[in-house]
Amino acid sequence: MSLKHVNAVIVGSGAGGGVVAKELAEAGRSVVLLERGKWFTPFDERKDDLRNQRTCVLGNAFGPDERNPRVYVDASGHEHVISPTHGAYSNNAACVGGGTLSYGAMAWRFMERDFHLRSTYGAVDGSTLDDWPITYADLEPYYEKAEWEIGVSGDDSNNIFRAPRKRPLPMPPLPPTREHQILNPAARRLGLHPFDIPMLRNSVPYNVACEVDAKCGTHNTVIPKAIETGNCELRCECIVREILTSDSGRAAGVAYYDSDGRLQEQSADVVVVSCAAIESARLLLNSTSRLFPNGLGNRYDWVGRNLQGHAYTGAIGLFDHETYDDLGPGASIAVCDFNHGNLGFVSGGMLANEFIRLPYQFASRTAAGIPRWGAGHKDFVRRYYRSSISVMGPMQEMPVFDSRVQVDPKVKDHWGIPVARLSGHRHQNDLLGTNFMSAKAEAWLKEAGAATVIRSGPISLDGPSGGQHQAGTCRMGNDPKTSVVDKYCRVHEVDNLYVIDGSVHPNNGGFNPVLTIMAIAYYASANLVKTRKGMGAT
C-alpha cells in the first residue's frame, strides 16, 4: 500500500531539516519529516560521561549504532571499516534534533568576509576556495529569526569585528564563570575584544528547553511547533535508501526502511535532504538511475567533494590557584580578533574558553610534559583539574577537492545500503593557522596568570576533516559545473530537490556552524514557500 502523497518529504531532523519542517508546515504545506534515529526526551536519562557526543569510548548515546559502519581510507591508502565510535568516523548524533540535541550550543553568525573569502584573500593553491553566491546581508534577517525563534543568550556588543546586526540577542548572557572573570581582564590588557559567547541556551525564561529548561535545539523548539500545525508528520527510525526520480528527471519521493525494516515509498512534490554533509552526499550518490548514473546532482563530480570541518587548536594553562566552578556549560568568553587579517595565511578562527572538561576527558588528555600514567599523572590530575583553563578555537579550513565522501563499492550497512567512504587530506593553510592560533591562546593564558601553558601540538594533515562541524560536500554556487546547489539550495539539475544543511557551505567559517545552518534553512525555506505555491495547501 503506498503512503499518502505529501507536498514535501524532508530527510533528517537536525539543525537544517527541523527548521524547514516548521517553515513549510506553518505555510500550510503537508510535510513528512523522516529521521533515522529516535526522539529522546529528558526522561531518557542519557547523560553519560563515557557515552556521549564528545566522549564516545563506550558508544554514542544518541546514535548511530554499530549497524552503521563507514569506510575510512588512511594517508597510506589503506581502507578501514570503522564503527561510529572510531575517531575518523566523523559522527554526528542520529536522533530527532540531530547534533542540536547534544551540542555545546554556541550560536555564531559568520562574519561578512566569510562569504567572500576568495575575493578577500585571492585564489589559494591546492584549494577550491570560492565566494558564496549569497552575502551576509542576504542571511542577516534569517540569522535574526533563528536567534529569536530558537533562543540565543549572550552579548557580543564588545566584539568590534562582528557583522552588523539589526536586533540584539533576545536574552542576556549567563552570569560570568570564574574562568570568564580571569580571562576577561587579561584579554583587555592584551588589547583584545572579549565578549560573552552567543549560546542557544536560556539565561532567562524563554523557550521550554531541556530538563533544566536550559538548552535549545530543533527537537524542543521548531519540530514540536511543526507538529502542532497538524501539517507535519514525524517518522522516526526510518532509514532512507534512495531518492526516487521520475522518467522526466524530477524527484518523485524517497524509498526508506521503516522502524520494522519494511521498505516504504513516500512520494512528494519536493524532496529536501538534510542529513549533514556526509550522509547527505551519501544519499545523493546512492540515488542512481538511468538519467543519473553517477547519483543525483553529480553530473560534474562535485557531490561529496570538499569535505571539511574545523581544525581545533589552542592551549591549556595551569594555575597556582583554583579556576574551576561547576557551572555549565563552561565556555563563556571569546575573542574574534584572529578570525581575519592575520599575516601569512588565509582566515583564522575565534578563540574561546573550553566547555567543562569531565574528569576522564581531563585525565586522558596527553601532552608533552605531562606524565601519561603513574604517580606523576595522578598528582597532575589532582593538582590541576580545578586549576586549569583551556582556550581553544576552530580554524577555518581551506576546502580541498580530494577530501571527499564517496559510496563504498563493497561495504554495506545493516539495511544493505552502500556506506560512506571518507578519504583525503587537509590543506597546509590549516596547519599555519592552527600554529598561529595556539600561540595566541598561549599568550592569553600567560597574561591571565597561568604558571605553565601547554600548547596543542601541530595538527596532522592526514585524512579528511569532518566531525560534528562537517560541511562542504554539496557546495552552493551559481555555476553548475563547480557546485551542486544554487543560491537557494536547489540541486542544479533537479528542480524539485533541495539540500539544506551544512553541506552547502562553500567554506565553514572560523566558528561553530549551527546558527548558519539554521539561518540558511530559514532563508531557503522562505524561497521554497514563495516560489512553490504549486505545492498547494493541505
Binding site: 547523560k47 553519560d48 560521561d49 563515557l50 569510548v57 563506550l58 558508544g59 565510535t85 549567563l174 552570569p175 539565561s203 525564561p205 533544566v212 529548561d213 536550559a214 561547576d326 557551572l327 555549565g328 567543562i356 569531565l358 574528569p359 576522564y360 581531563f362 585525565a363 586522558s364 601519561r372 600514567w373 603513574g374 604517580a375 599523572h377 595522578k378 590530575v381 589532582r382 583539574y385 580545578r386
Partner: protein, 190 residues
C-alpha cells in the same frame, strides 16, 4: 575505605568475588572457575597489578580499589567485546615477558620492577618474543586508557567505586550543576 591497601593474592580473590557477586547476573560471558565475567583469576591478577601502577594508591585510593578491573571486565563483555583477544593475548604476554626477564609473573614483582617493565612495554622495548601478534605499546595504550575510564568515569560503568576519584577532585555529584534557575542538588517540585 582502605585506599593504601596493596592487595595480596588472597585479598584480591576476595575483592574479585565481592565485585562479581555485586555485579549479579548481568552479562553472561563468564568463564568456568572464575568469578569474573571474562578474565581468568590469573589474568585479573596481572591486570590488577598493572592498573595499580597506572593509578597507584597514595593518600587517595588507587585503580584496584576503585574497581578498574571490574570496569574493564564488564566492558569486555559489552562495548569492548572486540578487544577480548587483545586482552587475553596481552596479559599472557605481560607475564611471559616478566617471567623471561625476572623469573616471576608480573604480579609477584617488586613495585619498582613493575614500573620498569611497564615503561619498557610502553616504549615497545620489552625484550621478549612474547609480542609477536600485538605490539606491547599498543596493548599498554589500551590498558592506560581503560584504566583512566574506569577510575575517572561515572561509577555507573562499574569503576570509580563510591565516586572515589571525584571525591579526590572535590567534585560534587553530579559533577556539573544546572545553573541560574535550576539547581539539580535540590529535588524538583511538582
Amino acid at each position: 575505605m582502605q585506599p593504601t591497601l596493596r592487595l595480596n593474592r588472597r585479598a584480591f580473590l576476595q575483592a574479585a568475588l565481592t565485585a562479581a557477586a555485586a555485579a549479579g547476573a548481568g552479562v553472561a560471558c563468564s568463564r568456568n572457575g572464575s568469578p569474573w565475567r571474562f578474565f581468568t583469576l590469573d589474568q585479573a591478577r596481572t591486570l590488577a597489578s598493572m592498573v595499580d601502577q597506572i593509578i597507584p594508591p597514595d593518600q587517595d585510593a588507587g585503580a584496584v580499589w576503585a574497581g578498574v578491573v571490574n570496569y574493564i571486565d564488564r566492558q569486555l563483555c559489552g562495548p569492548y567485546q572486540a578487544l577480548q583477544e587483545t586482552y587475553r593475548y596481552g596479559l599472557g604476554a605481560v607475564d611471559q615477558t616478566s617471567q623471561s626477564n625476572y623469573g616471576k609473573v608480573f604480579a609477584d614483582l617488586q613495585s619498582h620492577q613493575q614500573i620498569e617493565l611497564l615503561h619498557r612495554l610502553e616504549e615497545g622495548k620489552a625484550p621478549s618474543g612474547a609480542w609477536k601478534q600485538l605490539s606491547s605499546a599498543e596493548f599498554f595504550g589500551y590498558v592506560v586508557d581503560h584504566t583512566m575510564q574506569g577510575f575517572y568515569g561515572d561509577p555507573r560503568h562499574g569503576g570509580n567505586r563510591e565516586g572515589v576519584s571525584w571525591k579526590m577532585l572535590n567534585l560534587p555529584y553530579p559533577p556539573i550543576r544546572g545553573r541560574v534557575r535550576s539547581d539539580l542538588s535540590k529535588p524538583r517540585s511538582g
